[in-house]
């Protein structure tokens, strides 16, 4: 099936099996390796991307779902001003440990900053609840997002 979508602000078209996972399309067809596979069942959030501006786990999204839509990956978000601000905050607090979950956290935090952005711990916890991190205990992730809210 022919699928056309906007990927990190660029129009692209691919020919693919309609059931192919968005995660595989990003990694295999576009070499966008920032989107990681961890659980493969939508639990951990390591493969989170924005689909029409909303965070989704790309392991549960199929090619057929993205036709005519807009996809933003961690690579794309890293180029946006709010993405850059978040990266600097995550870096400053030394929040990043193994880093495998962080592209996903970047995407979800970016969505929070865009849609709400209030420096409110409870709201931030709720916004990030779909992303699992095994290294950090989340404390420094909250600290980073709070810092980004303050500086935005």
């Amino acid at each position: 099936m022919k699928v056309s979508f906007k990927l990190n602000n660029k129009n692209v078209t691919i020919n693919t099996d309609p059931m192919r996972r968005l995660l595989d399309i990003l990694r295999e067809d576009f070499n966008l390796l920032g989107t990681k596979e961890s659980c493969g069942e939508g639990e951990c959030g390591a493969c989170t991307v924005l689909l029409d501006g909303k965070p989704v786990t790309s392991c549960l999204v199929n090619a057929v779902h993205i036709d005519g839509k807009e996809v933003m990956t961690p690579e794309g978000i890293a180029q946006e001003p709010l993405g850059k601000l978040l990266i600097d905050c995550f870096d400053e607090t030394n929040a990043v440990q193994c880093g495998f979950c962080f592209p996903g956290f970047l995407v979800t935090s970016y969505h929070y900053l865009k849609t709400d952005g209030e420096k409110n711990l409870n709201k931030i916890k709720k916004a990030l609840s779909g992303n699992i991190c095994r290294c950090t205990g989340y404390q420094k992730i909250f600290e980073s997002v709070m810092l980004a809210c303050e500086r935005n």
Partner: protein, 718 residues
């Protein structure tokens, strides 16, 4: 204490830092493992599905192994692949590779294996209750006086149970092998903790069909926590064999379900404690601990876990008459292995629970009772190792004060009188010996290498991997801070066994403690040897001397003398100490414990990088709390968990506020940090639940089902 930023944070965030699955090689094909779905039995027939062209697949089994079919481990008893008989669910039978990853997956999931089934032990209690299942060497620490307990002493007897725990590193296990026939090198790209273990694994399975195995890690290692200590050796062996047979680079990345089902976990434990306490002095006078671990089907590295377990079994108390017995038990489940804490979290879960049991019985508050019994300088461990500092006691005092423990005890007692929901507060303490146990570091004889280039760049070569703990940032920091060299001119190189000397595995809280302190000494030594004030100036005016290589070995302190036969002597040169207080809110209607606050005070010696250390400690404390609260891997009647859907990891909504403080930091020696945060928190949850409800539960985790059962039993007077 400078919190310099990590070298890898920005590339990890923007997706450019490469983890194992982000590497590809020309003509690379994909591999997967075909493993046993039978717990114990003979393999009768392997039936591949119809409709596939078998000639497109590369397959390897035990009979293809040119070398030895034994994974190198402290106890070499586990084969890479089963021969005729399988001894546990998840035992690898074949490695299979194909250019199409998805097709390979379908092929393997439609392959049917027929077995002649034999009797099997898969239930944890069935394994640990029956003494006939004990295997391997029994360890004892005998510090008995030979005297009978005084009849006035109060006897307490309890059995505590701890579950499996899954490391749940976010990056699954993975390996790429690239056979290079022209020079007979097997190049392996690994996500692992111990490149030299992987090298030994590949060289064992391939034997003299290869000249050498060269292991290089991926840039990013997406978490490990002990889970990437020994399993990578097995995976690398099979991946290498597939590459050798196919003549192509082979990548195996485990699917999460396979990873969670077949790889190593924390050992479930059954710890039985008999203690005798003097009711007058409130001192524990005598103790007998029976420490049992479910090792799985093979011993592998379990003897070493057992050693650390018995050496930490008594927790932090001075008990004049002590006997500790440790044994491994066999079951038909995958071998359990390394997980942050390595036998110590089980020990503290039992002993720190027992301390609260005795305190409740004597009607002393848990803090007072600990204060009376905690060991001090001048006391000794059951191995006779002298206690040289009061830092454990200092951690306890500090955390009691910070958490306002004594006032909260009163406050919660009042609050609970008028509420159906309950508030509770609990204490636990712990410690962790840094580095390999006993004579281990002497045997390892770790070596590090430094190359100083013409532009005064210092390249550090160590085999220790950065799996998220920030080791490569902190190790470089220890070197450049010692000689005041610019940060950007001092870099730890990606571990590669052909370039990096063997500085040992990335385990046992030894990276900063052994290798970091060695690098610091090394920096001073090079400075003395060359006689410089400023390295950049020196290199600029002595260009003909550079590039130059320097090497140095770790020398163990002569005070570390340990009798491995009798478990007597100094088991660890330095200990990290800790104490914590956890507050909970118990929801009576749903039987749920909500963690509200945790204060953890630790002595890890010098803190090299405050933010990195705090972050690592916060993560470890949460793993420890979750071990006490919600994580378990096996449920009778259900079996083993399958992924992140049924294995309950804490999310952002489940966690308390965690407050970390490091004390006694004004010292040149950085001690172990990796494991201590995981060791001690779990029993504080259990103790806080008792404080809230008056109910003791002797098996973690404290999930609602278990609480419901215990409370029902209590109401029924059972």
């Amino acid at each position: 204490m400078k919190s310099i930023r990590k070298i890898d944070a920005i590339p990890k965030l923007n997706g450019s830092w490469k983890f194992l699955d982000d590497y590809s090689y020309e003509e690379m094909i994909h591999g997967q493992l075909l493993y046993s779905t039978c717990h114990h039995g003979f393999i009768k027939k392997i039936a591949f599905p119809d409709g596939y062209n078998l000639s497109e697949f590369t397959m390897v089994s035990a009979k293809d192994i040119p070398g030895e079919n034994i994974v190198p481990e402290p106890e070499c008893d586990q084969p890479f692949m089963a021969e005729k008989e399988v001894f546990h669910f998840g035992q690898v039978i074949m490695g299979i590779a194909h250019p199409d990853r998805k097709l390979l997956r379908e092929f393997i999931s439609n392959t049917k294996i027929e077995y002649e089934e034999l009797s099997a032990i898969i239930d944890i209690k069935e394994c640990l209750e029956n003494q006939k299942n004990a295997f391997g060497r029994e360890l004892t620490i005998d510090h008995r006086t030979g005297k009978k307990p005084d009849p006035n002493w109060i006897h307490h007897h309890k059995i505590y149970y701890t579950p499996h725990q899954e490391q749940a590193y976010l990056e699954p296990q993975g390996m790429i092998a690239v056979w290079q026939p022209e020079d007979k090198i097997m190049f392996v790209r690994a996500t692992c903790q111990c490149p030299f273990f992987v090298k030994e694994g590949v060289e064992t399975i391939m034997s003299d069909t290869i000249k050498e195995a060269v292991i290089e890690t991926s840039e990013g290692i997406g978490g490990a926590f002990g889970g990437k200590e020994d399993f990578p050796s097995l995976l690398a062996g099979i991946t290498s064999l597939l590459s050798y047979k196919s003549g192509k680079p082979v990548k195996i990345v485990l699917e999460r379900e396979d990873d969670i089902q077949i790889t190593t976990k924390r050992h479930p434990a059954r710890i039985e404690i008999n203690s005798w306490t003097d009711p007058e002095t409130k001192k524990i006078m005598k103790i007998d601990i029976d420490y049992r671990l479910d090792a799985g089907a093979y011993q592998t590295l379990s003897p070493v876990v057992l050693a650390r377990g018995v050496l930490h079994a008594i927790s932090g108390y001075c008990i004049p008459d002590a006997f500790i017995r440790g044994r491994l038990f066999r079951s038909n489940t995958p071998s359990n292995g390394a997980f942050r804490g390595f036998g110590a979290p089980q020990a503290f879960a039992a002993m720190e629970a027992h301390i609260d049991d005795i305190a409740a019985n004597l009607k002393v508050n848990p803090y007072e009772f600990r204060k009376i019994n905690i060991f001090k300088s001048g006391d000794e461990f059951p191995t006779t190792q002298p206690i040289l500092e009061d830092h454990l006691s200092d951690c306890l005092e500090c955390v009691i004060e910070k958490s306002n423990y004594l006032n909260k005890l009163k406050e919660f007692k009042e609050w609970n009188k008028t509420h159906k929901d309950k508030k509770g507060i609990g204490i636990s303490i712990g410690y962790h010996g840094g580095g390999y146990t006993g004579n281990g570091e002497k045997v390892l004889n770790s070596e590090v290498k430094v190359v100083i280039k013409k532009d005064a760049t210092v390249m550090i070569f160590v085999a220790n991997t950065d799996m998220g703990q920030g080791a490569h940032t902190t190790l470089a920091q220890m070197f450049f801070e010692a000689i005041d060299h610019p940060r950007e001119k001092c870099l730890v190189q990606l571990p590669n066994t052909s370039k990096t000397p063997n500085s040992g595995p990335t385990v046992a809280s030894r990276t900063i403690y052994i290798i970091g302190n060695l690098l610091r000494k090394f920096a001073f030594k090079i400075k003395d040897e060359l006689g410089f004030e400023n390295l950049e100036d020196y290199v600029a005016s002595n260009q003909n001397e550079f590039p130059r290589e320097f090497r140095m070995n770790f020398v163990q302190d002569p005070s570390v003398v340990f009798d491995d036969e009798n478990y007597v002597g100094v088991a660890y040169k330095d200990y990290s100490w800790a104490a914590c207080v956890t507050e909970i809110y118990y929801h009576a209607d749903t039987y749920q414990i909500e963690l509200t606050k945790n204060w953890s005070v630790m002595d890890i010696g010098k803190v090299v990088n405050q933010k990195i250390a705090t972050g690592q400690a916060e993560g470890g404390v949460l793993q420890g709390l979750a071990y006490g609260l919600c994580e378990f891997f096996y449920k009778p009647g259900y079996g083993r968990m399958h992924g992140f859907t049924d294995y309950a990891l804490p999310t952002t909504m489940d966690i308390p506020e965690i407050n970390i403080e490091f004390i006694h930091t004004d010292t040149p020696i950085a001690k172990g940090l990796g494991e201590i945060p995981m060791d001690f928190p779990a029993p504080s949850v259990r103790n806080a639940f008792h404080n809230a409800t008056g109910v003791f539960i002797d098996e973690i985790p404290l999930i609602p089902e278990r609480i419901l059962g215990s409370i029902k039993n209590l109401e029924l007077g059972i």
